[in-house]
Amino acid sequence: MSHDHEQDPPSEMALRVKALETLLTQRGYVDPSAVDKVIDHYQNAVGPRNGAKVVAKAWTDTEFKKRLLENGTQTIAELGFIGLQGEYMVAVENTPSVHNLVVCTLCSCYPWSVLGLPPSWYKSHAYRSRAVREPRAVLKEFGVDLDQSVEVNVWDSTSEVRYLVIPQRPEGSNGLSEAELADLVTTNSMIGTHVLPPVSKVGEQL
């Protein structure tokens, strides 16, 4: 815990969770170093950089992209990205005529092994309830205003299948290396709530 937090009185939830972890530790159910290991894994080992590498490779390697769209699980595993909540992966591609958006209306299922843990808004009641009913209104809240001619496909993660959106490659990104391309890919673009801007405008977004 950071020193900043220690100066504040701990919240009720902090006390309750501390009591639970203490009891489970004292009685031998939970090894705190295993808890630390899990937190470290999801803060440092896996995260959206994994997905960004998959996307950048799909943009530069047509054979890879073909395999990725046909068999997401195996093809993503080629890059070593396997693990909990990524056991069955399906990649869906955004094109000029189709925009994909991923949600889990039933809980908050998310492809942990390629994107890490979900951002808080993805778990919010507002996103879970509205993404299937009014996807375009939700997209506008993210600054994505799609033309009426673009068809929106919303993927509701009702099973253990997990979805990765391959965003459209930004304009002006020709000549960039795979690693440079991966740096352009945002978390939200792989969920479908962001459209990557042309490369010349990247600076303006920061």
Binding site: L20, E87, W121
Partner: protein, 212 residues
Amino acid sequence: MGGMRGFGAVDPSDDERFHAEWEKRVFAVCLVNSIHLSGNADTTRFRLEQLPPTDYLRSYFERWYLAQINACREANIINEEEKSALLSGQVPAQRNEAEFALTPEFMERLVSSGVPTVREESAAPAFGVGDEVRARNLNPATHTRLPGYVKGKIGQITALRGTHVFPDSNAKGDGEDPKPLYAVRFSCRELWGDESSDSVILDLWEPYLEML
């Protein structure tokens, strides 16, 4: 929650994975303690759904915490008095002891390898790509992965996903009972009566569907 009204706008700036240290701890404690609780991932989701609605609508990790407390009670890790003490932030005196705890090495392997739900095909899938199907109007009191907003609606099979553990059975402890899983596309016109060309695609198990 699909299709429910009243939750307001989405706040894209709320993009942290965790808001506080306790959220990280409870997330990881739930994974590490899972070995001592009865059931599986489906049971865990069922426990979340069994929280009273006012608790369910608390924050994501408060739900995890409350479901974990209930699961510890179910598994007799704690008794009623200890449960009340924990809920008020107190640590009760030692009473029982576990025989083992999952190690950091085990957890590393678990999170890195995952727990697949695909099983051998037990029966040929009843539907094929392109088939028109209706989502059945099933209303079990127990866990299901058939969202309310598609019940009775007509969709089209777009992909076969193989045979997967059936959550409705697995969550109750009645075994995996694997069933074929399909991607089914429903038009927003069919779901919501609007004029859009948009669609929602869900993964639905065979028992949720009937041929038109």
